[in-house]
Amino acid sequence: MKAVVTGLGVIAPSGIGVERFWPAVRDGHVALATVRRYEPNPYPVRVVGEVRGFGPDGWVDPRVVVQTDRFTHFAVAATTMALDDAGLDPATVPPFGFGVVTASYAGGVEFGQREIERLWDGGPEHVGPYQSIAWFYAASTGQVSIGNGLRGPSGVLVADEAGGLDVFAVADGELCRGASAMVVGGTEAPFCPFSMCCQLGLGLLSTNEDPATAYLPFTAHAAGFAPAEGGAMLVVEDERAASDRGANARAVIAGYGSTYTGTRCFDRSAEGLLRAAETALADSDLDAGDVDVVFLDALADQRADAAEAEALRLLFGDRTDRVPVTAPKSGYGRCYAGAAVLDVATAVLAIEHGAVPPTPGVHDCRFDLDLVTGTARRADIRSALVLSRGQHGGNSALVLRRPDPITRGGE
C-alpha cells in the first residue's frame, strides 16, 4: 500500500492557488509586510505574512461563513481547490472511505477575540451562539467533512507545528486501514492581538520592523520568525484507488518519523530531528544518500538553527555541503501548523517542476550547508525530505518520493 498525493490546494501570503503560489515561491518573492488585520500598536511584532485578497464569498456557503473563523474559510476553500486539482468528486468515493484530517495550532482565534470583546463590552448575552463551534480546533475538519460529504475516518491533530507533518502519517494509517482517500492539511489565521500576545513570551517571533530583514534563518542576523496565516489542503489517495480511476499520482508519501525533545530545548532538537529523519528514511526504504533536497524547519532562532544544521551534518556526514536545502517560508512567514503542510505542497511542486525554490532574503548562510538562495535551482528530485519542529519540542520528518513511471494493468 502506498499513499499518493493527487491534489493540492494552497492559500498562502505568496499566492492563492498553486498557479500563483508556485511562481512566487520559485522566484523567491517576499510577501512579508506590516500587519493590517489589526492595529499593530502597541504590540512588538509588526512584520507578518498575511493572505491578501481572500474573502470567503464564492468559496464558502454563506451560512457557514457566519458560523466559522477565517482559518476554516481557508480550509474549506483550499479543500475545494485540492479536490478540483485531483479531479475527484467525493460522491464517486464509497461514503465511509473518504475522510479528512487537519492540524491546528491556533484554532478560531479571530472569531474568539470578537466574541470576547462582546462579552467584555456587553455581557454574556452579547456573545453569539456560534462561538461554541467557531473557535474549536476541529471546526475546519468538521466543515470540510460536512460540506463535501466525507464520512470516513476524520480528526484534528493539535500537536504544535510539527502536526503539519504528523497529519500525513495519520492519513497514511487510515488508508492502510481501508480508506481510499483522505483530505489532509492545515490552515491558520492567527492575526488578532489575543492570539499573538499568547506567543510573545516564547521569544521566538521577530520584532524587526523591516520586511526585507525580519525573517533571516541560518544567518548571523537570525532573530526570530515572521508569523503567517494560510496553509494548504491536499488530497491523498491509496495508490491503487488513484490508479483505478486514472488519476495522476503527483508524489508518494514514502515515510515518516517523529520524536519529542522537550519544550524550548532547541539544543536537543538536533538529535530529535536526526532520529525523526532517520526513521522517515528507513520507513521509505531509502538512506540519507538518496535525499535530493531538504525543506527546512527554519525557526530563525540562533540555537534552533544551529541544532537543525547539526542534525543535517549528522545525517549527511561528508555530503552535508552538497545536499541542496531550502526554506521558502522565509519569503512568506511561518504559518504554524500550516507551515509544514505548505512545505509538503512545495516539495510536490519542486519534484514536478524539477526545481528547488530559494530561501528568499537570505544571502549569507552561517553554516556549511548548500542553502539554495537567490533563484530556483534546477534539480532532478527523486526524494525530498521535509523537516518540522514545534515550538514546544516536537520534531517530525516526512519523505516524499517521485512516483515510478506508470505501469498500468499489472501488479
Partner: protein, 80 residues
C-alpha cells in the same frame, strides 16, 4: 426600543445572523418553518439573542426551528 419589526427588517436580521438569505415573503408565509429555510437551532438562538438585545423582545421568549418566522414576527408585532 420598539418591539415592532417589519417583515423586511426581520428578514434582513435573520440573513445577517445566520447567513441564510431570507425574503420578506418567506418571513410572512406561515408554511415556512425555520427548518425549511435552513436555519438551525444555533442560528435561531442567535436571532432571538439579537431581538432580545436590540429590539426589546422579552428574555423568556424561546422558539425551536420547527416554528415559522411568521410566528416570531407575530410575537414582535403583538399580534400572536
Amino acid at each position: 426600543m420598539s418591539a415592532h419589526l417589519s417583515p423586511d427588517e426581520l428578514a434582513a436580521l435573520i440573513s445577517r445572523c445566520t447567513g441564510v438569505t431570507v425574503t420578506a415573503e418567506q418571513v410572512t408565509d406561515p408554511h415556512h418553518t425555520f427548518d425549511d429555510l435552513g436555519v438551525d437551532s444555533l442560528g435561531l438562538m442567535g436571532v432571538l439573542g439579537e431581538l432580545q438585545r436590540n429590539h426589546g423582545m422579552p428574555r423568556d421568549v424561546d422558539m425551536q426551528p420547527d416554528r415559522s418566522p411568521r410566528e416570531l414576527l407575530s410575537l414582535l408585532t403583538g399580534r400572536a
